[in-house]
Each structure stands twice: as C-alpha cells, then as structure tokens.
Amino acid sequence: MTPDRLDATFAALADPTRRAILARLASGQASVAELAEPFAISQPAVSKHLKVLERAGLISRGRDAQRRPRSLEAMPLAEATEWLDGYRRFWEGNFQRLDEVLEEMKTKQKKHPRTKRERGKR
C-alpha cells in the first residue's frame, strides 16, 4: 500500500460523519438519500463526504443509474489496519522485550544487591 493511499484512507476516517457512513454501509449498500437520512445535514453535504470516501477508495458506486447505491470497499480498510498493526506490534514488541530484560535485571539485582546504586548521583 502506498503512503498516499494510506494518507487518503486516514484523512477520510478522520471525520465522524464519514465514519458513521462507513458503519452504515457495512450493513449493506445504500443510496445518497438513504445515507443522508440519519444525519442532520443536506444531501449535497453527504455527497461531499461520499466523494472523500470514494477518492480514498473506501466506497464504490453501483451501476443502478437511478439510485447510484454506494457500497463499502473493504480492501483499503484492511490494508490500513494491517499497516497499523505492524506499527503497534513494532513498539509493543520493543516494550515487551524491554519488560523481559527488566524482569531479568530485577532478579539479578535481588541476588546481588548493589547498595545505594545510582542514588546521590543526581
């Protein structure tokens, strides 16, 4: 996945209305009118959000010329999650390894206590 596409995905997800639209589409395709219904905003405003989601590749338009139903595209979301998982795993992995190193250091310190170590050195 390219950084540009990740950027677009995250920018699209940064808005609560767009997240709500995605959540709605997760339960099945819907027309612009249907999507606008639960929100206190106009259809053109919803259309703007849909354009952002579409540019990010998060949704697509159906062929039905009348309704132009929007559907969720799962791929970019899955890619973004995979990428984020990688990042979190990287840092959490670092710190879990550090936890182990610290446990070992604590055990060693108990066996061979070095008195007043580091104290008074400030």
């Binding site: 950084p3 990740l6 950027d7 995250f10 997800l13 940064a14 997240r19 995605l22 959540a23 997760a26 969720l72 799962a74 979301l77 973004a80 999650t81 990428w83 984020l84 990042y87 979190r88 990287f90 840092w91 959490e92 992995g93 670092n94 710190f95 390894r97 550090l98 936890d99 182990e100 190193v101 610290l102 446990e103 250091m105 604590k106 310190q109 170590r117 580091e118 050195k121 400030r122």
Partner: protein, 161 residues
Amino acid sequence: MNSTGTLQVTTPSEREIAMSRVFDAPRSLVFDAWTKPELLKRWLGIRAGWSMAVCEVDLKVGGAYRFVWRSSDGTEMGMGGVYREIVRPERLVATESFDDPWYPGEAVDTTVMVEENGKTTVTTTVLYESQEIRDAVLESPMERGVAESYDKLAEVLASIA
C-alpha cells in the same frame, strides 16, 4: 494514570509528539536498559529478522549514540544523535536524525522516567524543528496511525465486524 503495558501517544504542544508507557521496574533499571548497549541490543527495534548491528552509546553530555539495524537480507537502517542532558536515572535529552531521513532536520527526544511504587512511567517527547514538520510527521501514516487514527479506525472496524 497509565496501567502497566499500555502505550499512550499524545501531542503536548504544537511541535511535539509524546509516547508514554509504564514498566514494572524501578527507574534505575529502566535507565540502564535505555542507555547500556548490551541491554539496548536486546529490545530496541529487534523485529523479526532484524538485529542491531551497531549499538554505540557515549553517555555524556555532548557524547554521541549510533544505532544501525540490519535485516537478514542485509538491508540496513541507521540513526544517531548527541546527548544534551543526562540526569541519571530520571531524564535523558538527545538529538535524533535518521540516515534516510523521513522528516526534515533534526528532532530532540526528551525521555523522563518517573518512579512510583516500584513502577516506572517512561515518557518520550519528540520535539521537531517546526510545527510544519511535526504536522508532517503526524500526517505520515506511521505517527498519525498511533496518535489519532487508530481509535477511529478501531471504531469503524468494530462496527463493521
């Protein structure tokens, strides 16, 4: 307060990004693990297939540190900087820059270790040269993913799942 093991990311000012985590150990040990090469080599950046090929620390004000990670296929990634403040075992300030920079200029890392009931909260704050650079880092998927979007994404995914 954070619970042990939970990673927190915040933006304390317009030029900074901060990362915080609690460790179940006194800070004298955490400080050592953060500054002694033989200990750093065992935890920092050791992803699958990657090891630390170079880990040099000259722990004094004005002293340099240099880390190079090498993957099993020979790819290398290096970074380094200079220590500006060392207050053992509670505070470390150092510059950081990457060999293949993914943001402009040099950043300054401030690591503060606070001990309470035998546990240590480590907070690393990275200060960038300008708000534009900080924002660019936040804009990059890596930082932003952690800083703000992860929860939102999790929210969306939870509703989809």
